[in-house]
Symmetry: C3
Subunit: 459 residues, 3 copies
Amino acid sequence: MEQDLASLAAAVAELKGSVAATNGTFSETFYFLTIPLMVLIHAGFLAYEMGASRSKNALASGIKNILAFALIVPFFYFIGWWIYWAFPTGLSLSEGAMGISGLAYANDVALPWSQYMGPNLDDRSSGVFWGAFVLFAATTASILSGGVIERIKLTGFVVLAIVLGSFVWILAAAWGWHADGWLVTKFGYHDFGAAGVVHMIAGFFSLGVIINLGPRIGKFNADGSANNIPGHSMPMTLIGLMLIIAGFWGFLMGCVIVPGEAWSWGTEIEATIYGTPMTISGMTFNTLMGFSGGIVGAWMITRDPFWMMSGALGGIISCAAGLDLWYPPMAFAIGFIGAVAMPFVASFIEKRGIDDAVGAFAVHGFLGMWGLLAVGIAAQGYPALFGEDVIETSFMGQLVGVVVMGALGFVPGYVISWLLKVTGQLRVPKEAELLGLDAVKVPASAYPEAIHPSVSPAE
Amino acid sequence: MEQDLASLAAAVAELKGSVAATNGTFSETFYFLTIPLMVLIHAGFLAYEMGASRSKNALASGIKNILAFALIVPFFYFIGWWIYWAFPTGLSLSEGAMGISGLAYANDVALPWSQYMGPNLDDRSSGVFWGAFVLFAATTASILSGGVIERIKLTGFVVLAIVLGSFVWILAAAWGWHADGWLVTKFGYHDFGAAGVVHMIAGFFSLGVIINLGPRIGKFNADGSANNIPGHSMPMTLIGLMLIIAGFWGFLMGCVIVPGEAWSWGTEIEATIYGTPMTISGMTFNTLMGFSGGIVGAWMITRDPFWMMSGALGGIISCAAGLDLWYPPMAFAIGFIGAVAMPFVASFIEKRGIDDAVGAFAVHGFLGMWGLLAVGIAAQGYPALFGEDVIETSFMGQLVGVVVMGALGFVPGYVISWLLKVTGQLRVPKEAELLGLDAVKVPASAYPEAIHPSVSPAE
Amino acid sequence: MEQDLASLAAAVAELKGSVAATNGTFSETFYFLTIPLMVLIHAGFLAYEMGASRSKNALASGIKNILAFALIVPFFYFIGWWIYWAFPTGLSLSEGAMGISGLAYANDVALPWSQYMGPNLDDRSSGVFWGAFVLFAATTASILSGGVIERIKLTGFVVLAIVLGSFVWILAAAWGWHADGWLVTKFGYHDFGAAGVVHMIAGFFSLGVIINLGPRIGKFNADGSANNIPGHSMPMTLIGLMLIIAGFWGFLMGCVIVPGEAWSWGTEIEATIYGTPMTISGMTFNTLMGFSGGIVGAWMITRDPFWMMSGALGGIISCAAGLDLWYPPMAFAIGFIGAVAMPFVASFIEKRGIDDAVGAFAVHGFLGMWGLLAVGIAAQGYPALFGEDVIETSFMGQLVGVVVMGALGFVPGYVISWLLKVTGQLRVPKEAELLGLDAVKVPASAYPEAIHPSVSPAE
C-alpha cells in the first residue's frame, strides 16, 4: 500500500506538470492572439486615414502610418519596455509594494540583454506581453496619425510618433496601468481598458501637436469659419473603422491577466492589470453595449456614417475604464452620452481654429476622459488593487488621473511639436501641400489611371 | 502514512481547482474569440453592400448596416435572449425535458436584472454566449440588408432589422437550435451550423420584404425583362465577401459546445448545441470542402466573381446543417450542387419581378433549405439529441423544419413590410431614389472629388 | 484507509481525463484558429492583386486568386496530404526513423478513405492540421498569382496553381519540413517558419513561370528599358498587404507543435515541426522585430509604400527560418538587410527582361533564400531534431536546402509553364491583353460607372 501511495503521488506530480503545461500554452496563446487582432487595428487605421485624405495625399498618409508602426517596435524593445517597469512609483526608480517595479526590477527583466528579452525556454510570457504592449504603442501613434494628415512632415511625424509610442504613453502606463503605479496605489486610479493611458494620452498629445501644426490650407476662411475637407473615399474610411472595431477585441484581451501562472494575480479567474478580479464574459456584455450606445448616440446627433463609426469606437472608449464593472445598460448609456457629446467637442475645437482632421481629440482624448470620470462617478468604492484593505476608486482619484493623463499627453506633444516647428521639421512647404504630398514626396501613385468606367463585359 | 494520504488528497483537490480554472478560462476565451471574428463578417458585409450599391447610394447602404448592428444589441439584451430561453417548447412557456427552458428558467437567466446579465465573478459564460448570439443576430440583419439596398427607407429597415434580429430568428433558434426545442425533441431536426435558424430565416424574411418593397427603378423593363444594375465597386464587394469567409469560422465556433464546464454536454469532446458529440477537426474538413465546392460550382455556371464568392458562402451554408456529419468529399458535392443551383434560383425569382439586389434569398434562403434537406437525405438516422434512445434525424423531420423555418421567416417579413408599406415607411420617394439616397439623406459624400488620375510622382 | 486510497486513485484518474480533455480541445482550437487568420491572408492577397492590376484587369486577377484557393482544397485532400506523409525520406516511400512517414504510414493516415480524413470522434487533430496545411498550400498559389497578373490564361494558371499547391510545395515540405525529411535528417536543414518550403518554392516556381509567360505588353521598350505599369489602386494594395500581415500570425501558429498530445513532441512547451523546443513568446519578439526591420530597410531604399509593405512581409520571411532562434535585434537586422536587398533583386531580374509584376521572386524567392542562409550563418550548431545526439544545423546543410528548394521550385514551374506555352494554354491573346482581361473574359464590371464626384449632400 505504501507503494500504491508512492505511485499515486508520482501520478499526481506528473498530472500537475500537465496542468501547468496546458495553462502555460493557453496563456501564451491568449496574448499571442491579441497581436494579429491588433494588426487589424492597423489595417483599419491605414484604410481609415487614406480614405480620410484627399486622393492627392492618400499615400503620404499611409506611409506615415506604416513607418510609425515599424519604428516604434525597436524603440519599444530598447527603451519603452524598460520604462514601464522602471517608473511606476514616479520618477524615483524605487521599488513599489508589489515588488514588480523600480530600477533593479526593470534592469532584470527589460534591458535588451536580459534573458527575458528573447527566446528563452523558461519564459513563455515576456515576448507575448511585450508584443501586446508594442501593439498598444503603435495604436497611440495611429491615433496621432489621423489628426495630422495632409500637412505634417514625415520627419516631424516620425519623431512625435516615437516619443508618444515609446516614451510618453508607457510612462503613463507605468503610473496608472500597473499595480505599483503611484496613481493606483496613492489615488486608487482605475483604468481597466486604458482609456487614460492610451486614449487620453494619445488624444491630448495629438491636440498639442495640432495646435503647433496649424490647420490645412483652405480649412478656415478669412472670417474664421471652417470648411469641411472631406477625404477621397468615405467607404474606405468606414470599412477601416469596422476593422478597428474587430481589432479592438484584441486590445481588450491585452488588458486582462489570465489566471494560473506564476505572474497571474489569481488562481481561478481573470484579473485586471491591477489584480482586481473580473471576467472576460462580463467585459463582453459591456463592450457590445458601449459600442451600440456610441453608434446610436452619434447617429441621433449627426446621421453621418463617419461619426457613427467614430461613435462605435468612442462608445467603447467611453466605457473602457470600467468595462470590468458596468451594469450593461449603464455601459450603453455611458457610450451613448459620450457619442452625443463627441461631435460638439469636435466642433468646439474647430471653432477655436484647430484642425483635427478626423476628430482624434474628440474621440480619444475627450471620451477617454469621460470614461475615467464615469468610473469616478458611478463605480466609486470598488477596490483598486489586489489584496485586502486596499485603496478604493474614487471620483477624486479619477480626477487626479484625468489631470495627470491630460498633462502628460498634452505637454510633450505641444513642446516637441513646437521644437520641431521652430526647426522647420513639422510642416511641409505650402507648395507641397497645395500640390499634394503624394506628388512631391511619394515615388508611387495612388490612382494612376483614375477609375474610369469599365468596358462593357463580354456577356 | 495517513498524513501522506491527507496531503495527497489536498494536492489533488488543489489540482482539481487548477484544471477547472484552466478549462474555464479557455472556454470563456473560445466564445469570446467568436466575436472579433464575427465583427469581420460585419466589416465584410459593409464592404460588400457598399460595393454592390451604385455610388449614389453607397453610404446609405453602409449606414443601414451599421445602425442595424447597433440597435440589435440592446434589443437582444432586453428581449432576444429571454425569448431564446423561454420558448423552446413552442409558445406555451413550459419547461422542456432538459430543464433549460420555459418561463421560470428564462426569468432566472435572461431578464435584464438577472445576476447572469452582467459582470459576475461566478459566471464566466453568459456574457460570451450572449455576445456570440448577438453577432448571429446582427448577421441575420446584414443578410436582409443586402437584398433591400438602394430604395428602402431607413426607418422601415431598422424596424425590420430589429424584428428579424431580436425576435424572429431567436424564436427559430429556440425551436430548432436548442436541446429543448420542439423541432428537435419532436422531429429530430438537425441544424448544426444554423442553416435554418439563421440563413433560411433571414433569406425567407428578406424575400417577404422584397416582395412588398418592389424593384429598384430601372430594374425591369416594360416587357418584364430585367436589367442588371451593377454596384459601383466589384473589388470592394469581393474583398468584403472574403472577409465574411474569414469571419464565418467564428460563426461556426459559436455553434460548438466545448467540454468540461457545468453547462457542457460532454466531459471529453465538443458537442453540437443539441449535445450530440462532434469535433472541431471534423467540421474543419467539411467547411473547407463545402467552401471549395461552392466556388467551383458557381464558377462553372457563371464565370462571374460575384457569384463565385457568393458560392463560397453558399457552399458553406449548403453544408452548414451537417458540418458535424459529412464525409468531406460529400461536403464538396453538397456545396457544389448548391452553388450550381444558386444562380438559377436567383434568376427564377428575378423572372417573377422580384429584385433581390445581391441574391440574399438564393444564397441564404434557398441554400439553407438545401442544406437542411441534404441532412435529411444523407444523414438520416443519426441521433438528434444527447443521451440514450433519443429521437433520430429523418427526412421528414428536416422537411418539417424547412416548412417551419420558411414560414417563420417569410410571414413576419411579409406582414411587417406590408404594414410599413401601407403606412409609407418602407420605401423612399421616387425622387430620392433617382437622385441617390446619399444626396438626399446622408450629410457626407462617398467620393467627394471623384478618383482622378494622380499627378505624376516625384521620381 | 485502503478505501480512501482507492477513491483518491479514482479522483486522480478522472482528473487525468479532464486534463487531457482540456489540452485536447485547446490544441484543436489552436490549429483551427490558424485558418480564419490565414483566410485573412487571402482577403489580403485579393485586395493586393486587384489593386496591383490596371482596372481593366482587376476582376480577372481576383477570379484567378479565388479559383486557385478553391481548387487546391480538393486536390490537397485527395493527393497533397498523402504526399506529405509518403515522401519524407526521398522518393523511395520508405519509413523514416521517427516512424511517421513512408507508404504504409501515408496510406494509413492520408488516403481519402482513411478514418482520419473526416469527422471521427477519436481524432481531434487531423482535420485542423490538414486545414492549416491547405491554407499554406493556398498561400503558395497566391504568391504565384501576383507575379503573373494581367496576361496569364486562367486555364494555365489553374494548372500551375494546383501543381504548386498540391504537389510541389508539399513534396518540399515532406523533405524539409518534417522530422523524417531527408534534408533534416541528413543535412540538419532548419526551416521553422517555412521560408524555404513555402516562400522559396513559390518564389522560384513563379520565376520559372514568368520566364515562359513573358512580360506584359508595354512593360519593356525596344531598347530593353523597363516601364513601370502601376496598378489602379495603391491604397487597395496597401490595405491588402496589411491584412496579409495580420494573417501571417496564423501562418506562424501553424508552424508550432503545441505540447501535451499524443502527437506532440513535448509535454511541457512548444516545439518546431522538427521537435526542437521553442516558445511562441520568443517567436513573437522576432516576428515583430523582423517586420519592423523590413519596413525600415525598404523605406530607406525606396520611400515607396508598396515596397515598404512588401518589406514588412519580406522582413518576416527573412527571419522565418529561424524565428525560434534569433536574438531579437538580430531579427531586426536580418529583416532590414533582406529588405534593403529586395528592390535591387527586383530591379536585377527586371533588367533581364523578366516582368514579375509584384516582385514575387524578390520578396518570397530571394528573401526565403536569405533567411535559410542566415540560419546557416548565425545559428549553426543548434540541434536540428528532437532527441539526444542529433544532427545539427550548419551552413552547408542550409545551402543544400537552398539548392534543393530553388531547384524543386524552379524546374516544375519552368517545365510545366513551357508545356502550357507550347500548347497555347499559358497566355491570353494579344488583343485580349490590350483590351483588358475583364472585358474579354469576365461577365461583370469592376467599376461600371467610374467613380464620379458625389452629388452635394443634403446638409
